[in-house]
């Protein structure tokens, strides 16, 4: 337990008030040790009956020593994780303007429906006759995604955006290979998310970066110069990670296709155009969607996600397994690379994809409908632009003019203040806001990428803008100390990431073992 040790460690004059407490708790802000430090050996938070008599069949492979797990009762476990949760910020608690992450409201209806036994308590290997409703849900979701993207096929099994990229790039490589030459290079703008080059590399391609023009878009001339018979594809994010729509995208697509290459689009920012623009109309051959962004399936502190990939007719035959197809006996599962699926790249994941996320995303889409989804894009873009103009005076926008669903600033406004983008972000934390995305994209210095999403009210945006403007003024007024010290009011103050990486402690170890490890 904490307690005295905590009281001793905390020293007078530390932030959060002169008052030191014995427990280390501060009112409703409660300290909580690791479960391993709360071990009551032999204790258990689950009551299980004695195993009935049976002839053991473990074939001599019984586990040797103890596992080393701590014993806790249910009340202790519930309190532990309740307290931990209270150390988190979330979209349920406030604005979460993390650029490129689309932190929007997560409707609880979707949680409720995903838990219906007919969906959650369904095994992927049950006889097909017993899962007809599941196939119907998958097929319905596919229909919505195909209609929204305008593309003829969608692969649903990818588990997240990066997995979708892998799916898309593999279908591209498969298609090129089928044509006789997989080619060597993938063109990727410097502003691209790290998953793009990483994915291309897994597919055995060399990455060739393309520069941005002064307007923060792909430099068409530079692109054309790089295109050639060895270029397999362009991986472009649109709207791009600077929050800008690639206004020359049709020319880009034409150039890419003229070079015999494919046009892959990272659709992580689809929220800006959903219901208004169909990627198919932009000449895109493959595009992944993050259901956990645009379609509000909860991020859950890091996942799970779901990254369906919309595919052009030229790539569809290579889609990963399984497929849900309309057979004469209704919907059917194709699980083998035979017949219609003979050209599939194969299986990318166990079973049939992130069903739990499919239910949530479909519930979200049906709730909005064609009208609501278009409104989502419009309000997301409206909110971002409203913040853009509210912050224009105080912050330095990287690329002038209107933005899409997110707005990019750089750290010029902090010039000579001694305050960094990081400091500025940490000061926002004290004010009760989650900071914007920092230092991404890499194409501008000290980036601050702000994405409010459509589920923020005007009042919420105004309060955020007032605060950011006030902080900027304070920074320019030379109050650097306040920023370097931030955050002062959180359960933990600024954490030492360098030390963490220098001598990694990646798990708890009992005192004894820990000593050994130290030696």
């Amino acid at each position: 337990m904490t307690g005295w040790s905590q009281a001793l460690s905390a020293h007078p004059g530390s932030a959060g008030g002169e008052l030191q407490t014995f427990t280390g708790n501060r009112g409703l802000q409660l300290e909580e040790p690791l479960i391993f430090e709360q071990d009551s050996p032999g204790h258990c938070g689950v009551d299980l009956p004695e195993p009935p008599a049976h002839r053991c069949r473990l074939g001599g492979l019984e586990r040797q020593g103890p596992i080393g797990l701590p014993g806790l009762s249910e009340p202790q476990v519930v309190r532990h994780f309740t307290r931990l949760s209270q150390k988190n910020y979330a979209i349920d608690s406030g604005l979460y303007p993390l650029g490129s992450c689309t932190m929007k409201h997560n409707p609880r209806l979707n949680e409720k429906l995903a838990r219906l036994p007919g969906f959650a308590d369904l095994h992927p290997l049950q006889p097909e006759a017993t899962v007809k409703g599941a196939l119907e849900l998958i097929d319905t979701l596919a229909h919505w995604l195909k209609t929204l993207t305008g593309m003829p096929a969608v692969a649903l099994s990818p588990a997240a955006g990066a997995h979708g990229e892998l799916c898309g790039m593999m279908t591209i490589r498969a298609a090129l290979t089928a044509q006789g030459d997989p080619r060597q290079r993938i063109l990727v703008p410097e502003s691209a998310h790290g998953t793009n080059p990483a994915t291309a590399a897994i597919c055995g391609y060399a990455i060739d970066p393309i520069a941005a023009n002064a307007r923060g878009r792909v430099d068409l001339a530079a692109l054309k110069a790089k295109l050639g018979p060895d270029v397999a594809a362009l991986m472009l994010t649109n709207p791009n990670t600077c929050g800008l729509f690639e206004d020359e995208i049709l020319e880009i697509a034409a150039a890419v296709h003229a070079a015999g290459a494919f046009f892959y689009c990272d659709g992580a920012n689809f929220n800006a155009i959903v219901g208004r623009v169909r990627p198919a109309d932009l000449g895109i051959d493959a595009l992944h969607l993050n259901l956990h962004k645009t379609f509000s399936t909860p991020h859950g502190g890091g996942g799970p996600g779901s990254g369906p990939v919309a595919l052009a007719a030229s790539l569809a035959p290579h889609a990963p397994l399984p497929w849900v197809v309309h057979g004469d006996a209704g919907l059917a599962l194709v699980e083998q690379a035979k017949g219609p699926a003979a050209a599939s790249i194969g299986r990318l994941k166990g079973f049939h994809g992130q069903m739990g996320m499919f239910v949530r995303a479909l519930s979200y889409m049906m709730s909005h409908g064609a009208d609501g989804l278009r409104q989502v894009a419009e309000d997301a873009v409206l909110n971002a632009n409203y913040l853009r103009v509210r912050l224009a005076g105080a912050l330095s926008q990287s690329y002038p003019g209107a933005c899409m669903h997110e707005v990019l600033f750089d750290d010029r406004f902090l010039k000579d203040t001694g305050v960094t983008t990081l400091d500025f972000a940490k000061a926002l934390i004290d004010e009760g806001f989650h900071p914007m995305t920092m230092y991404f994209p890499l194409v501008v210095h000290g980036a601050l990428l702000i994405e409010p999403t459509e589920t923020e009210s005007k009042a919420s945006l105004d309060q955020f803008a007032d605060t950011v403007n006030a902080l900027a003024a304070r920074a320019r007024a030379g109050d650097g100390e306040r920023f370097h010290a931030a955050p002062l009011l959180t359960p933990r103050r600024r954490l030492d990431e360098t030390a963490a990486a220098r001598k990694p402690v990646l798990r708890w170890r009992p005192q004894a073992q820990r000593k050994e490890a130290a030696e």
């Binding site: 932030a15 249910e74 290997l125 049950q126 017993t130 890091g302 739990g356 009210s457 954490l495 798990r507």
Partner: protein, 446 residues
């Protein structure tokens, strides 16, 4: 629309503040050719009541596992998850937060992941574990790629006892990476002969294997290490480690496992949670996120994401993997369920599962014409039927029993496996369930 806070008035005021006449003024970068004025051809907005009705209708067309005697496993297992787990993971502070990029606002997520990494390390008997991957199959593929990076060797050998989906995913992932993936044929019950040469990056085995047989891979580990290859051990039923010798104890270098059994529902196959553990010496070649311990400005213990130089957002094309979003919330469910069980609970749960399977095996062995293929097993085993298993399973479903996986579904090309049925029993199976199963099977075989 209930999820959109802006009112028509707000929109008007904001457009005015921005200085554009209409919302279209903010979409001027969209090429005219791609411009759409009308709505896409999809239904209009609906209220909760209507959406719930529609999805309930679909759900009702499925046979929920809980509504029938249930004996299906094959890499996904139906366990009882305490109510506290689902309550806790639905707390908004966990459910609706992003990847913990701002540690001062995410100590809850970070500490629970640190606990997760520790639990996975303890269960698998390995030194370090990451903060989760998508699922067991992709974790297996990442393990092969990692072995490739570490050994710089060109070949991976997959056991025939490896889950067929895992085998397929490894093959898919590796197909363009210059790594040759060879797989032995599936031979339930038989022992395998692996040839390992100086170009072998790793051997991938599973325990219990896909057919339920328990395998001690210690000797293989020694052979691998002697040959400079790595041993990757896959575990698809993590509960087995409550009763069975751990991969670490066998000398595994990398463990790739599926964590669904703890804390997570069947979910028709996803989301689940991939577990990934290895030896400390290889930590910098690991894929996925890692949470590390550190101190704050006041010297208090805290947690952060660490060693991110392995990851795509720093290393780009040189990253150890392209993974970004993982299975965070499923990992949390795993951590809570495991915390509730603890040492005493998990070991007993494992014994309960084994007992159920043993009793089921005896019951089925008594059914005329049925042979148990396994010498040993944990909570799942393979039986040989006197006729093809697929139609029998369909018939069982007619009787209202979900009676296992016919191997032909996963090995359609293998006629020699057509009569084999993979059967699992967990703590959720009642004596009455077994009676119904045995009875229905007897009928179906008439």
């Amino acid at each position: 629309m209930r999820y959109l806070p802006l009112t028509p008035g707000d929109r008007r005021d904001m457009l005015a503040a921005i200085g554009v006449g209409s919302i279209d003024g903010l979409f001027t970068d969209v090429p005219k050719a791609a411009w759409r004025d009308g709505l896409v051809d999809l239904p209009l907005a609906q209220g909760e009541l209507e959406v719930e009705r529609a999805l309930r209708r679909m759900a009702a067309k499925n046979v929920a596992a809980g509504s029938a005697p249930f004996f299906i496993g094959g890499g996904v297992y139906r366990h009882h998850v305490p109510a506290a787990v689902d309550h806790l993971i639905q707390r908004g502070e966990f459910l609706t937060s992003y990847t913990p990029y701002q540690p001062e606002l995410a100590q809850g997520t970070l500490q629970s992941l640190f606990e997760f990494q520790t639990q996975v390390g303890l269960l698998t008997g390995m030194e370090v574990a990451n903060a989760s991957l998508y699922d067991g199959a992709t974790a297996c593929a990442e393990a092969v790629a990692m072995a490739h990076r570490i050994t710089r060797r060109g070949k991976a050998v997959l056991s025939g006892g490896l889950h067929p989906h895992y085998r397929e995913v490894c093959t898919t992932y590796a197909q363009f990476s210059g790594l040759e993936v060879g797989s032995l044929a599936a031979t339930p019950g038989a022992t395998e002969k692996f040839d390992i040469d100086d170009n072998t990056a790793c051997v991938v085995v599973q325990n219990p294997d896909f057919f339920g047989e328990l395998r001690d891979w210690s000797a293989l580990a020694t052979r691998c290490h002697a040959a400079g290859a790595l041993l990757v051990v896959v575990v698809t039923e993590i509960v087995s480690l409550g009763a069975v010798k751990s991969p670490g104890e066998m000398g595994a270098d990398i463990v790739a496992a599926e964590g669904q059994s703890l804390g997570n529902a069947l979910n028709f196959g996803g989301p689940h949670v991939g577990l990934f553990a290895c030896r400390e010496q290889h930590v910098r070649q690991m894929p996925g996120r890692l949470v590390g311990q550190t101190t704050d400005a006041e010297g208090r213990r805290g947690w952060v994401l660490t060693l991110s130089t392995r990851e795509q957002h720093i290393r780009r094309e040189k990253a150890t993997s392209n993974i970004c979003t993982n299975a965070g919330l499923c990992a949390l469910a795993f951590t809570i369920h495991t915390a509730l069980l603890g040492e005493a609970g998990l070991t007993r749960l494992a014994r309960l599962n084994h007992a159920a399977a043993c009793i089921l095996a005896d019951r089925l062995a008594a059914v005329p014409g049925i042979d148990i293929v396994n010498q040993s097993f944990f909570n799942e085993f393979t039986v040989r039927l006197p006729k093809p298993a697929a139609p029998v399973v369909a018939a069982l479903a007619e009787y209202g029993v979900l009676g296992g996986v016919p191997l032909s579904r996963l090995y359609p090309e293998r006629d020699d496996l057509a009569d084999l049925l993979l059967v699992a029993a967990t703590e959720t199976v009642t004596d009455d369930d077994m009676t119904q199963f045995a009875h229905a099977l007897t009928e179906a075989l008439r």
